[in-house]
């Protein structure tokens, strides 16, 4: 499917979109989950997971190049209209569930760290109001917000590592590779989810002008986020002791607690507020992908889906309880692993075989 040139974006912007899709609330707490089994060797797992994501990017580009469209086109080409629509629908649901999971994570942080008494629906509607405004402006606005979410918080994300590094105990990381293969695999699996998000490419591919040349930017972005996550893991690992990190829910946020400025005693208020930029950009991207797909599958206006999904998110955020949240997170993680690291490569193989047959026949 061809998209009007007016709606397309330059290839280098893919860097910012991919970066934005990968960095969410995960970076604030993934250090604990990856260290749960693999201990302080887990940072190696992040690098390994980064390599997997690079391969995944390559697979996605191959797949989309062959079909010359988004995942909805791929599905309808391979499976026909009806079955293809059903499969695409599942992926759109994944995008939406992922956005809900990010939103709930952020709401929890706001409630624990800043406003313990504020009801979820107020935070949720304020954020989603902003997101609705972004998404209804079209894909170019979403990209613009992605760009901002890279530039502004990036300075803070990296500069703030200086403070904990002053008290770092680098010998904490020794001895290296002291865990079994299974433990390491667990760390890789958990980092895969924190590094997830690149699958948004499956929807926005047709919106890139001269898409082939954007490949290197996507790979670069993944390289950058992998390094960012590795550095973040190492900073936390050298700052906390191993049993301390296992009971800290948001190691990265707790790092911020050591910063004290004479005019600002509690720095994390600023930090969490700044995180709104990152989170709303990510939500905008995920909701854009989801609604764009639904629009193509069901042939209705994108805005309608956006309103429906946003309202559903608000309702869920208010009604959900702790138990259900754990289940949701688990489902999203599993879906992400199975759909994008199991199903998409198979899809590529099927598509290649079909193409070959067509050429031969």
């Amino acid at each position: 499917m061809q998209v009007n040139k007016r709606h397309q974006v330059s290839p280098y912007l893919v860097y910012f979109i991919v970066y934005n899709s990968q960095v969410g609330v995960g970076i604030l707490g993934f250090q604990r989950t990856i260290a749960a089994k693999a201990g302080y060797d887990a940072w190696i797992g992040v690098i390994v997971a980064g390599c997997f994501v690079q391969v995944f990017i390559w697979i996605m580009y191959k797949l989309l190049e062959k079909a010359d469209g988004d995942i909805v086109d791929v599905h309808s080409k391979v499976f026909g209209n009806i079955l293809g629509s059903v499969l695409s629908f599942i992926i759109m649901i994944y995008y939406w569930l992922a956005s809900v999971s990010v939103l709930l994570g952020f709401i929890e942080i706001i409630q624990v760290w800043m406003f313990p008494t504020l009801p979820s629906w107020i935070i949720c509607s304020l954020i989603l109001g902003l997101v609705y405004y972004c998404v209804s402006g079209g894909f170019r606005i979403v990209v613009g917000v992605s760009f901002l979410s890279f530039i502004f918080p990036q300075i803070m994300l990296i500069v703030l590592y200086i403070f904990p590094l002053r008290e770092a105990h680098f010998t904490n990381l020794l001895p290296i590779m002291n865990h079994s293969f299974n433990d390491m695999f667990d760390a890789v699996k958990n980092s895969m989810y924190t590094l997830a998000g690149t699958e948004a490419l499956l929807m926005f591919y047709p919106f890139i002008r001269d898409a082939k040349s954007s490949k290197k930017f996507a790979h670069l972005a993944v390289l950058f986020t992998t390094l960012l996550y590795t550095v973040s893991a190492i900073v936390s690992f050298t700052f906390y002791s191993e049993s301390q990190i296992k009971e800290t829910i948001w190691p990265e946020l707790s790092l911020i607690k050591i910063i004290r400025l004479s005019y600002l005693e509690r720095f994390e208020y600023l930090y969490i507020s700044m995180y709104l930029i990152i989170v709303s950009a990510l939500l905008a991207l995920l909701l854009w992908c989801s609604t764009r797909g639904l629009k193509r599958i069901l042939k209705k206006k994108q805005k309608n889906f956006l309103i429906i999904l946003s309202l559903l998110s608000v309702v869920i955020s208010q009604l959900i309880n702790e138990q259900f949240k754990v289940v949701l997170d688990k489902y999203v993680t599993q879906m992400n692993l199975w759909i994008f690291y199991g199903y998409i490569p198979i899809l590529l193989i099927i598509l290649t075989i079909l193409r070959r047959r067509k050429q031969n026949g």
Partner: protein, 361 residues
Amino acid sequence: MANRTLIGIWVTIFLLSGCSLIPTNIVNQINMNQGAGYDWAGKNTIKGTITFPIYKKDKPSTTEVKISLGETSKEIWSNINNESRYPLVSGQLRVVLFGESLAKKGITDVVDTLNRDPSIGSIIQMAVVDGDASELLKIEKFKTENVSLFVQEMLDQSMKSDNLPESNLQTYLFQFTQNGQDPYLPLIKQIEDNIKIIGIAILKDDRYVFPIFMEDAFTLKCLVDKYKQGLQRFTLENGEMVVLDNLRSKVHYQVKINKGRPEFTINLKMKTRLQEFTSPKKKRVALDKKHIQKEIAGQLEKNSLKLIKKFQKHGVDPLGLGAKYREHDRSFNKKKWKRFYPTAKVHVHVNVNIKQTGTVN
């Protein structure tokens, strides 16, 4: 068009009133808790002391000290809240003191609460009081001078430019949770109307066991901190007295495993500056730099070994030798280490370098 303006105005009103939806704390309608002290009151109860400043128009600020009994620290908190005009908030907490009686029973419960509260920073000072923490906070002289700020700044100053090793909530938590290390905290005492740092409290797990007094603090600080300033007097064999100011010291721990048992070599390199030199001959004698350096190094080695022997005798490990051993042994086992520690061989090599001798030679 008019319709849109109306919507715009409506949204603005909604958002502005949204500010009242979000909970606020007005600065002159809260009591900002700056210092807290905890003592053991017998029968599972803790005596908590909380100080906060009271600001009044056109008058110097005064410090209010409130005392209450309770079984947990937050219960004390709410008891004190019941007798104050404005709600207490903890975002400005600077210093937490533990009375000797409580420190000997264990301070984990209180520290865990401090760590759990997101509004408390992790670089707040903690100290053990030789005596009663509430008595110390109640000193009449400090009614007009803020006692908690006084203690915090005194400790800060001593850690930066004197012989107290660096410690705060984060270092305490790190050392406490680190496998193979025990924490230490500053030890302060009320002497008549004054507050004085008298040494360092060595803790076993979370219980205060014995003090290291100020004359050994210099040696301990050299062994645990990177490079800091601090003065120390040395008396040489021939009666000459030398005061050295540590400019930069670096300590390096080497671990060798000999027949399954760890052996430690501590290499300490110091760059110092000579500040005072007096001779019993009552006349100016030439400085024999090499001789002084060697003799002081010998004294420091002896002193360090004496300290380490003391730690080994009590089974406490503030130097973190266990953690260092763990870095080098993949089959580290806490039980095994506990058996090894009292008899572990430790060698200390000190290298003192007098860089400057002031303006005279």
